[in-house]
Symmetry: C2
Subunit: 94 residues, 2 copies
DNA sequence: ATATTTGGTTTATAAAATAAACTGGTTTAT
DNA sequence: ATAAACCAGTTTATTTTATAAACCAAATAT
């Protein structure tokens, strides 16, 4: 009756991050922090989880002298997001 | 940018229960347990939370000699569910 | 020179979800 | 009649998760 909701995506912050990355080729830590309004600590932890799951890639580099962490969604992440949205529909209709 | 997701509804089991009650006038404990596939303990706890929040009413009675717990969604619960669905759309589009 | 800001990570705490164990009563089998 | 199994839940304990607080290194500003 109800599809299982991927616990990795069923989290407000992780879902927001994935939502941004679904429509953005790439996004850096600072941008994600601004858009989601999260704390740096929380974002750091959740990015790790998404990365561990293979849903995103996290690339650390420098922009001039400042560190810059760039995130991108993977194919597997895209698929998982799509499946999550489909599963949600079994709960909220449409 | 992203709407806040009501934490009471952003839970797989509670959302499933609310989803059932949105389309069913009433549903008893046993039915909810069957439809959601949850354990009795988990269901009991989550029904309490929904009830505490005023999203559902829980009525205990008997059907012959067997106890029977009947749940119904409240107006406030309906509204909250609607708001939750709207908020979700800010994450999943559409 | 030292204080502050930037861009994070790590660790600790609070809250949630879930499962395991228990209760009160009923039905079924012996 | 008594014990065993079962039903409908509740309570308590355990695990997982989310979140915040504290910390760190480097760069910039005062």
């Amino acid at each position: 009756m109800f599809d299982k909701l991927d616990p990795l995506l069923h989290s407000e912050l992780r879902l927001a991050v994935m939502s941004i990355l679904m429509g953005a080729e790439e996004a850096d830590f600072v941008y994600l922090r601004q858009q989601t309004g999260s704390t740096a600590g929380n974002l750091s932890v959740q990015l790790d989880k998404l990365s561990e799951a293979g849903y995103i890639t996290v690339e650390k580099g420098f922009q001039g002298k400042k560190p810059r962490t760039t995130c991108r969604i993977t194919d597997s992440g895209r698929t998982a997001f799509g499946n999550y949205v489909d599963a949600l529909r079994s709960y909220i209709g449409k």
